[in-house]
Symmetry: C2
Amino acid sequence: MGTSKKNLFTPEQNRIAELAKALGHPARIAILQHLFSVNACICNDLVEELPLSQSTISQHLKALKNVGLIQGSIEGKSICYCVDQDTWKEAKSILNSL
Amino acid sequence: MGTSKKNLFTPEQNRIAELAKALGHPARIAILQHLFSVNACICNDLVEELPLSQSTISQHLKALKNVGLIQGSIEGKSICYCVDQDTWKEAKSILNSL
DNA sequence: AATTAATATCGTAAAATTACGATGATAAAA
DNA sequence: TTTTATCATCGTAATTTTACGATATTAATT
């Protein structure tokens, strides 16, 4: 039981669900909002911004990165994150055309 | 652990996440797509349309109804479901204005 | 070379999700 | 009134998510 049945749905349905799922947590919404407002920031800024531990935030960042909603680039000893505009457009257009 | 921290985020962030979460499963995307294409249908149509059991589909319908994305109205011994256009507009505008 | 700072990952526990069959509830039909 | 059809809910098991502390990892700094 509880086994996922991805194979029973179309790639489009799975992709939409995947993107929506990544947006389906307030912490990840907060992360995206912050990234939109400051354009880009390092992980540590988010740790100070959000009431969650560093490891938890790192996990949320990974979830967003896995579906392509954000990108991370090495910046000295930090990692600079920003919204991936292409994927963001994809998410919006998918929802609008549904 | 694993305790949800809804109280640490704004109502807006929670609402966005709640809506996105409801969209975060391919079966629920399939349900919405079907509802959009036929305008309205009874639960049983979805049971025949989707490769999932009746109880599972009923659960998914409940999830969509709980966040207001769909409405159900009694139609004899069936229940007729349709997309709630207001909530749907809310979802789209929220994403577009994020 | 040792220290510090910034992230990621591991291990783990609690909670939530997902799926199904079985059972209830309700209204039409016989 | 019994049966049938439609849908919801309950109980349950497997899976996934969420959160944290502890522990790597890596690069700048001292």
